[in-house]
Amino acid sequence: MSARYLARQSAQAIFTICMIVLLNFILFRMMPGSPDRVNPRNPNVTIEQRQAALARWGLNKPLIPDQLEAYVGATLQGDLGYSMKFQGQAVTQVIGDRFGPTILLIGLAELIAIFVGLGLGAYTGWRRGGLADRIGNGLSLILYSMPYFVIGMPMIIIFAAGLGWFPTSGMLTAGATYSGPVDFLRDLVAHLALPLATISLGLIGGYSILMRSSITETRAEDYITTARAKGLPDGKILRSHAIPNALLPAVTLVAINLGYVVGGAITAEIVFNWPGLGTLTVDALNSRDYPVLQGIFLLLGVSVVLANFVADIVYGYLDPRVRQ
């Protein structure tokens, strides 16, 4: 890996993160309302009091550079301000509390979807035009057309409200006491099953379509013809020659899609009332809790950029052709 490739990728990632922070700053300032407008019709609030409020929040200083400096400085120190809805709680704490459940849900769903989706795509692409391909690809296209909540709502109707196999919402039974870790785990898994299935299904469609087209392209390569000419069995060619090469673009695209996944998973969390970042986003949205919204945007933006950066580096390491 050349130092130049590494330097260029890092520069791009840092540039994008700076842009995200800047965008966050600008969006904040575009919002209507400001401390000095508190009760502007109240005759008892004097001009001096308003100016004191402005001075206290540093709003009487020029937007650039003073206010920008203060904002960037605070952000770098991990100070994202305070939530408006959960009074007195720091944004970092509000977001931190909801981080675990989302990571648990999306992490597991990604794992399942990557195995099943890429496997399905590899198989259908290899048998392109056959019956399995038509059914598999048709299914993938339908899943790909379904927003997560469109998968999730019927799940609740059938498996929770109808058959009563799973609870309808939450992560743990409210107010339950557990006799041991096994008991706790059983409750968690019961609550996790439906949202996990929903997000996995939603992801499988896209991943399968991706892998299918990647395998189809690989299938036309000369080294596959060579492997065939050597008399290798079909399954061996697929496993040892086609899949490793087709996996490269697929894995990169999985990383690039991370942002969309997290964004879309928000809706699955709402359907199942899962206590993660998704429900937090919508709560913040409904109560116009801007500091929390901005914090979520910053967190997701930066993680997506980092995921892309890692994907680029790994891709460059594995495939010398992209390093140019």
């Binding site: 575009m30 919002m31 909540f149 189809t216 809706t267 949205l285 919204l293 901005q294």
Partner: protein, 315 residues
Amino acid sequence: MSAVPVAPVNVRGVRWRLRLRNAREFARRYARRTDGVVGAVILVVFAVLALAPQLFVGPLQTVTTATGTSLDPPSAAHLFGTDEVGRDMLNLTVHGARISMTIGLLATLITIFFGAVIGIVSGYVGGRTDQVLMRLTDFFLVLPTFVLAIVLAPIILDIVGTDAELFGIRATLLVIIVVIGLTSWASMARIIRSQTLSVKERMFVDRARVIGGSRAHIMRRHILPNVVNLIVANAVLTFAGAIFTETTLSFIGLGDPFQPSWGQLLNAAQEAGAPGLGAWWYIVPPAVCVVVVILAFTLVGNALDDVLNPKSATR
């Protein structure tokens, strides 16, 4: 030596005959794609519903003009059942087609406009302009646009207010349209730019430059007609994406209850607790419409891409 009489060439006639032949050739190749044809038929049906919903189910029912009682299951009077305030689900779903499709169409037009202009200018002008525009495009490609849309929508709404209206479309929906447009042009710009780069090297562009055609003229009259195929194929896929995003944004509560799209109906169903109550008729009609329309757009888009895109024609 008598001059051979030359029939005057009717340029306009030749051009039209060429266009007609191209169109026929296109139709012949498209008709071979069964999935594309099925998708197109579905889209025509929904387009008719969207154009004149009142012809099929009467005017949009409101809380005061509701014809049923709360959460009736499907019956002869209400084929699709009713919602929590007694409105007929068939009525709401058909009217939802108009709102969902309108938002999708307008958002797609914005996306095409920005994508095409930025792609063509970036590719043709090149140099520093290209660098700046592509940095911007990269930024929007990497950005989690859906999350940006969630942050942008309430801010814009707070600035313009919810009661503003333009061409009979309420502010809430306009915000959704603009937000989708602003956050989805980047990949279109990328594709158009790379095609522009290859068209730019062709002989007729040099010829146009030599006889003194301005940059704007060349981009409009020589580059644009040669990338329009790509724009069309991508526009259809963008449409699918726009409806997907609209449905999701409406579902999380950014839609307009007074002009309910399918996503807004699903949001209302969720708020009314329909999934937990087992009121499947409140969810199935809008959900099926969303999936069928997005699927149809995807099928048509893929078929068009195969027929129109010279690169994928070999597959």
